[in-house]
Subunit: 243 residues, 2 copies
């Protein structure tokens, strides 16, 4: 991993772009005298540039809690090479939705599973590199993004001790079995009136999680209308588990 | 309303027992130089004495936010005259549950509706008396207790501007229609693994609420295992809406 640029944001937050091999990423660190916990910022596959304003706002909230935050570009997003199979699945999805047809399990599997298979090892490699930095100590939390990536990471990566997930995306049926294997504390956000999301599937997924400590927080406001109070609640969750 | 005793708790909180006609109650007020908002503390029909430790803890949390808090004895509870019809319904309920039989809508209606019909006017009379005190200014929130009482109050009492409800008790079907008429901001707590509670009915009730701003917070821990973080979240809800 090498840093490619840096800038100071307000409140003493240092923002550094980095490259991990061919994967671009961003690291935000608060000014601190001792190594700090880290939150991995998940995001939808829309590209880091497009997601930057929301990621930076979440990172600054993490910094206010004394946590570093990091995001990496997902496979097939931003300037990274497209994944032809995922592009075809996305086209199938858009066609089905435009025609008012049901989104089949085959489309969801083709859209999500290859992305999970590729993204999770990349997140773990990024974690290796980030935890090697002297300013980052852990523990590590994972927050947001595609819930299937969060589930796989929560099962596969023992250094992640708590996860805040957004139940707002298509979930392959196979991920329900992985959900049962999750044991870390979870904070799951659900937009109750999310038109593009199957509420019952989200509730079933929450029920499936094996964690003894899990919280579901449902709000109104549609897919993109998560209220500011939900951010406060998530911050409270991470501050309880990463200190 | 007249005060019958008073004591100072820690942190400058004044606790006063009062009588409103034949209804006993408790008022907690923070030390403040200006009139403060008020939270009505709902509670299950187990008697104020038995509920006192939990009520006092909730009241002190309100006081820490700068809010007064008050509770009154429910009809048929504590030292108040028993309600024979409700006692019969309670016996029917216990019999059905002990026999592993379904709890019928008739039992739930007989148990809850008369209590709601009596308790809500009493809460409103208490509100008249409390808001007449110079140290209490409003706005007013309602928190906890039997959710059916909270629903009726939220519909009937325009001085209540926000309600935190606990989806942990039997709800007569008729209350679903009243729930649709609720428009104030709601914070609904659900214990996901509450053995004595019908989760799907609780989710349906949350869905029925007419409020544009409503939050469902579901946690693990069984009926009585509401985690401390849920109290923090509820405090955040009231501090957003009563200031």
């Amino acid at each position: 991993m090498h840093f490619t640029s840096e800038q100071r944001l307000g409140d003493g937050v240092l923002e550094r772009a980095f490259a991990l091999g061919e994967i671009p990423g961003i690291l935000w660190t608060p000014s601190a005298s001792a190594p700090v916990p880290l939150v991995l910022l998940g995001h939808p596959p829309l590209g880091l540039n497009r997601m930057y304003p929301r990621l930076a706002a979440r990172a600054r909230r993490c910094a206010a809690e004394g946590f570093a935050a990091a995001a990496i570009e997902l496979p097939g997003s931003g300037d990274r090479p497209r994944l032809p199979a995922a592009e075809r699945a996305r086209a199938d999805l858009q066609r089905a939705m435009a025609a008012g047809e049901p989104v089949t399990g085959e489309i969801i599997d083709a859209l999500i599973l290859p992305l999970v298979d590729r993204a999770v090892p990349e997140w773990r490699a990024a974690l290796d590199a980030l935890l090697a930095l002297p300013e980052i100590g852990g523990p590590v939390g994972y927050s947001g993004g595609l819930i299937s990536i969060g589930i796989r990471l929560a099962v596969a990566e023992p250094r992640i001790v708590a996860a805040g997930l957004f139940a707002g995306s298509f979930v392959p049926r196979a991920m329900f079995d992985e959900a049962r294997q999750v044991t870390i504390p979870l904070h799951v956000l659900l937009q109750w009136d999310d038109e593009g999301n199957d509420r019952q599937a989200a509730l079933d997924l929450f029920d499936a999680f094996g964690s003894k400590e899990k919280t579901l927080l449902a709000n109104m406001g549609g897919h993109t209308g998560v209220p500011p109070s939900a951010g406060e609640d998530a911050a409270g969750f991470f501050s309880r588990h990463l200190r």
